[in-house]
């Protein structure tokens, strides 16, 4: 195991936790303000490990962008849910899933590219 493998595993796990957190918020959970902010685990990953070790990798910028899109979708879904549009909010999980697929596929590309080097 090398440091890159651990770094990407970390991001992958944090991303899956993020999805879980969104889903739980839409099924009676609370909106964890710190978690969903830039000081949340993924924000911290990008601002420390990400920018420290992988700032020059093309995929990193893309990953950060997809994550920002996820954050914005999360906020939209939270507003829908709080406004009593529960079905619409649950339906919105499809967008989260789409963005997540893109995120994970970018992460895999980056991981494999760096493994080959």
């Amino acid at each position: 195991m090398n440091v890159a493998q651990i770094d990407f595993q970390q991001l992958r796990i944090k991303h899956i936790l993020y999805k879980s957190k969104v889903r739980s918020m839409l099924y009676g959970g609370s909106f964890d303000e710190v978690f969903f902010s830039r000081s949340g685990p993924i924000g911290i990953w990008f601002s420390t490990i990400g920018s420290l070790r992988y700032a020059n990798e093309f995929e990193l910028g893309e990953l950060a962008k997809v994550h920002r899109e996820l954050e914005s979708t999360t906020l939209d879904l939270y507003r829908l849910y709080k406004g009593g549009h529960i079905d619409a909010a649950h339906d919105g999980l499809k967008s989260i899933e789409k963005q997540s697929e893109r995120f994970l596929s970018l992460l895999l590309t980056l991981e494999q590219r760096l493994k080959e080097v």
Partner: protein
């Protein structure tokens, strides 16, 4: 309107009557009303409710009203024959003579086919709604325009411990978790005022007294003018989904925690490894690590490399990198350590080395040790440590020689 004799023979009929019944005067006058003119195609004469009503009017000498009846009219052959579906509302009025006997009976008939067909269609569509509502996997309810419960499907009875009548009379509030009631009431009030859809999550007590989470949706139904005529609601049990989502979150939180610990442990191990590596590489003695059964050089420190200046040894098996030591028995020693897992320590051993890489062997003395390296309880390599003692050995020998002199 048709006028009958006490024997139920047709005496007279209005034009309208003839038109509706699609008969001519000649066809029905003087005919027996029920036996000849309009016989029932399904019921016998004695079973015919019209006869019963006429009999009653005749006896009581009072006006008799008939329930709405279906009496299909035979169509003339010229129109293809068969029957025309008709619903009738009729009354029989006895008209008395001077002696108080029934002189004749007037049947007043209104064709209410259209009204009755509409009624039937409505009840059919209600039946369909009920069937659908009963087939739904949700708890279904309706209220009237004012919000009063009018219908609950059977599932309510199966889910709660109350009968439908109890729920209809006392309201569904009794199955809702007390903590959820204020929110639900507020949301319902808001939806009711705004005439809008409502979705709310709430806990409902089941048969076993367990509050399970439901997603409740209500929707107003409007007529053509936009007036609300009823509210339809459904309640979906989302308890298992909620529990699963929560469990999944907890699992993933644990996983993230574990992965943080792995990262921390890795970083700690890595920094310790770097310290050791620095020590190892810059130590004032010779170190090397030989991996695998063929003793391949994995790490060589500076001091060790100085034994063989300029020689490429890394990743090569010892026998290949330094062939001159093979016949000096060192491979056997290494094999022994590798196979037994026991360290080997030797002092002041003479070794013939091709120090200048020119094929000329020179004698040098070393104190060295071989230590097995274990991975998962198996030897994976050997750490070799040593320092040259050629000078000391030579001086001592010289001293010994001098002492002898």
């Amino acid at each position: 309107m048709v006028v009958l004799s006490p024997e139920y023979k047709i005496l007279a009929a209005t034009e309208a009557y003839l038109q509706i019944t699609m008969r001519t005067k000649e066809q029905i006058l003087e005919k027996h009303f029920l036996l000849e003119a309009f016989p029932d195609k399904e019921l016998s004469y004695d079973e015919n409710p019209v006869k019963a009503s006429l009999d009653k009017a005749l006896q009581s000498k009072k006006i008799e009203y008939l329930d709405v009846i279906r009496y299909d009219l035979p169509k003339p052959e010229s129109e293809g024959g068969g029957y025309d579906v008709r619903y009738w509302e009729a009354s029989h009025t006895p008209v008395l003579d001077e002696d108080g006997n029934v002189a004749f009976l007037i049947q007043h008939t209104s064709d209410v086919t259209e009204r009755e067909l509409a009624k039937l269609a409505l009840s059919e569509s209600e039946e369909k709604f009920r069937f659908m509502a009963e087939a739904m996997p949700q708890l279904i309810f309706t209220t009237d325009a004012t919000g009063v419960l009018t219908y609950l499907n059977k599932r309510w009875e199966n889910y709660t411990s109350f009968s439908l009548d109890e729920l209809l009379q006392e309201g569904w509030q009794k199955v809702i978790h007390p903590d959820d009631l204020p929110t639900v009431a507020a949301k319902w009030e808001e939806a009711f005022q705004k005439k809008s859809n409502m979705q709310v999550e709430l806990r409902k007590r089941d048969k076993d007294g367990i509050y399970r989470w439901h997603l409740c949706r209500t929707q107003p139904m409007e007529d053509n003018e936009g007036n609300i005529i009823m509210w339809v609601g459904s309640s979906t049990d989302i308890h298992d989904t909620r529990v699963m989502v929560q469990e999944l979150l907890e699992t993933n939180e644990q996983m993230a925690l574990l992965s943080d610990q792995v990262q921390f442990a890795y970083e700690k191990a890595e920094s310790e490894r770097k310290v050791l590596e620095t020590l190892f590489m810059q130590a004032p003695a010779m170190f090397c690590i030989l991996k695998g059964p063929d003793h391949r050089f994995e790490i060589i420190n500076e001091k060790y490399q100085q034994l063989y200046p300029g020689k490429e040894m890394l990743h090569k098996p010892l026998a290949e990198a330094v062939p001159e030591i093979v016949e000096q028995g060192f491979i056997e020693l290494l094999d022994g350590v590798y196979n037994t897992g026991k360290a080997y320590i030797a002092e002041e051993v003479p070794i013939m080395l091709d120090k200048n890489n020119n094929g000329k062997l020179e004698e040098a003395f070393f104190t060295f040790s071989y230590h097995p390296i274990f991975e998962s309880n198996e030897v994976s390599g050997i750490l070799a440590f040593g320092y040259e003692v050629t000078e000391q050995v030579r001086f001592r020998k010289k001293l010994q020689e001098l002492g002898r002199v």
